[in-house]
Amino acid sequence: MHSRPTPAENGALENGTLEGKAWDALRTVFDPELGIDVVSLGLVYSVNATDDAIIVEMTLTTIGCPAAESLPLMAKAAVRDGVGGDLQVEVNLVWEPPWDPSMINADR
């Protein structure tokens, strides 16, 4: 299993914090093929809030997967809706560490 800390371990999921709201919003974004949300899939690596922005680091299951390329856009829209306000939302696509199925944390 991948050692990246979960949101709860990060202490970021307390209700009302921007990070917590963002994580909750990301749970509403589903991989369209698998039907699993991107957080449970282990695609979201981190969520950090600054004074004027929320920065999400996420990956995809496979490089070159065309539908998966929509996920960052969907994630951005969900976080923007979830946190509200005028905060800028940035979703950065990263490939390190590469995703693998052991990162899934859901009942499949």
Binding site: T28, V29, F30, P32, E33, L34, G35, T61, T62, G64, C65, P66, A67, E69, S70, L71, P72, L73, M74, E90, V91, N92, L93, V94, W95, D100, P101, I104, R108
Partner: protein, 446 residues
């Protein structure tokens, strides 16, 4: 953001518009229906003489109008995605679509109705289609460092060209009688088309799709996959000339290499199945059933080789059964992948139309874009159709041939309807929901 360039809906910039692959797939369904009609029409010939024109017509409708049409659709979608480089031109894609549509129907119908001019027109259209395809695919297929699947696709396109050259030569021979079109010569052509063009494409593409669809990421088997793809290609380069000039040693060496290549493909499938991180679904069942047809086809081929000298009629019938099983391998795999790939493409098209949720308010998923029960029934009808045509050939059983033809017609209709009506229903619902939302927005709060 270090992602590749994407368009507004998140699709990579090089991906062709959805209508292009979907048109190929829809026409492939029409080809399946046509093949079914041709089989029903030629049912008695299948039993008495599988080399008669009616049977050759059905075989060409299967190879050209169904399998090749579907594989061309997959190529147009898959190659730009995997290589990250767009096709040369959408106009070339359109010409390929239209000319291949003409070729894939005129050639079989010309053969079936014994109209040489129609056959020649079909041959000319096929030549245009293949030239356009190759010119269109050269930029993306020239991209280096994209792995074994792209190597396999380069080889499969080369085999497509060779198959077409054979076809044009045979069309010419129908008029000029340059040589005797014996069974071995016809078989050489069929095998290059089946394994070199259609088979290699599937073997190559599967290595990219299986990890995604089975959630089985395995980076350690590249060498084996490379060996498999090259073994099939080199095997065909030996088997085809071996059949053409009647050199058994060459043909045997080629056959052994092809079997080695196909075995690595089956091994890779078993690795993906064992390493999967998903429950067994219709896709997995389709792919496994498809692999079984490959094994059945090899069994029939071996039986035909052992029988043909003692009982020529039975031997030819078993060759027919073998070719049917190999075509079944590809058809089952194609339909299985279509059940995954079409929702994939339609989903993006729906998002482009602004449909991102189902009427219940949940996010639109691939699973919402087709009826699963109909998909399962389609799988069953196709599987029984393949089993029936194999039995029809092997046991010279006329009812089995008719059943097979009828089921192919049903399967083509079900497949097309399933992927058409569900998305259309969603579009219709979204249209009827939108005005109500507008009314709610302008209505004063209670």
């Amino acid at each position: 953001m270090n992602s590749k360039k994407t368009n507004a809906t998140g699709m990579p910039a090089g991906v062709p518009p959805p209508w292009l692959p979907l048109s190929f797939f829809a026409l492939g369904c029409a080809g399946m229906i046509g093949c079914g009609v041709a089989l029903v029409n030629a049912h008695s010939a299948v039993v008495t003489d599988p080399t008669q024109d009616g049977v050759v017509c059905a075989a060409h409708l299967a190879m050209l109008a169904t399998l090749s049409m579907g594989v061309l659709g997959a190529m147009h979608q898959f190659v730009p995605v995997v290589t990250g480089k767009a096709l040369r031109s959408l106009v070339l894609s359109k010409i390929t679509l239209l000319t291949w549509l003409g070729a894939s129907w005129l050639l079989p119908l010309g053969i079936g109705t014994e109209h040489p001019l129609v056959v020649e027109c079909g041959g000319a259209l096929a030549s245009v289609a293949i030239v356009c395809l190759v010119v269109n695919l050269i930029p993306p297929l020239s991209v280096r460092g994209k792995g074994v699947p792209v190597t396999g696709l380069r080889l499969s396109v080369s085999a497509f060209i060779v198959t077409a050259c054979f076809g044009v030569l045979y069309v010419g021979d129908r008029k000029a009688n340059w040589f005797t079109l014996s069974g071995h010569i016809v078989l050489a052509h069929a095998l290059i088309g089946l394994f070199g063009w259609l088979g290699l494409t599937y073997v190559a593409v599967a290595e990219k799709l299986w990890p995604m669809f089975f959630l089985a990421h395995n980076e350690k088997k590249t060498q084996l996959v490379r060996l498999g793809i090259w073994a099939i290609a080199i095997g065909l380069a030996l088997l085809a000339p071996g059949l053409l000039i009647g050199q058994q040693i060459l043909a045997w060496a080629g056959s052994v290499l092809i079997v080695i290549g196909l075995s690595t493909h089956l091994h890779s499938l078993s690795v993906h199945i064992r390493g999967r991180n998903r429950r067994v679904d219709l896709y997995a069942v389709s792919v496994i059933t498809s692999a079984l047809w490959l094994v059945v086809g090899i069994g029939f081929a071996l039986s035909a080789y052992l029988t043909i000298d003692k009982n020529h009629h039975l031997g030819v019938a078993l060759v027919g059964a073998s070719i049917s099983a190999f075509a079944g391998w590809l058809l089952e795999a194609l339909v299985g992948h279509v059940q995954k790939v079409v929702p994939f493409i339609v989903w993006s098209a729906m998002r482009q139309r602004g449909i991102e949720k189902v009427p219940s308010g949940k996010q639109l998923l691939f699973a919402d874009l087709y009826n699963h029960r109909v998909a399962s029934i389609t799988f069953l009808t196709i599987t029984i159709a393949i089993a029936s045509i194999c039995c029809g050939f092997a046991f010279s059983d006329t009812p089995a041939v008719i059943i097979s033809g009828a089921l192919l017609i049903v399967s083509g209709l079900l497949l097309a309807a399933n992927f058409t009506f569900t998305p259309l229903k969603l579009i219709h619902l979204s249209r009827s929901v939108t005005p109500r939302r507008t009314i709610q927005l302008i209505a004063p709060p209670d």
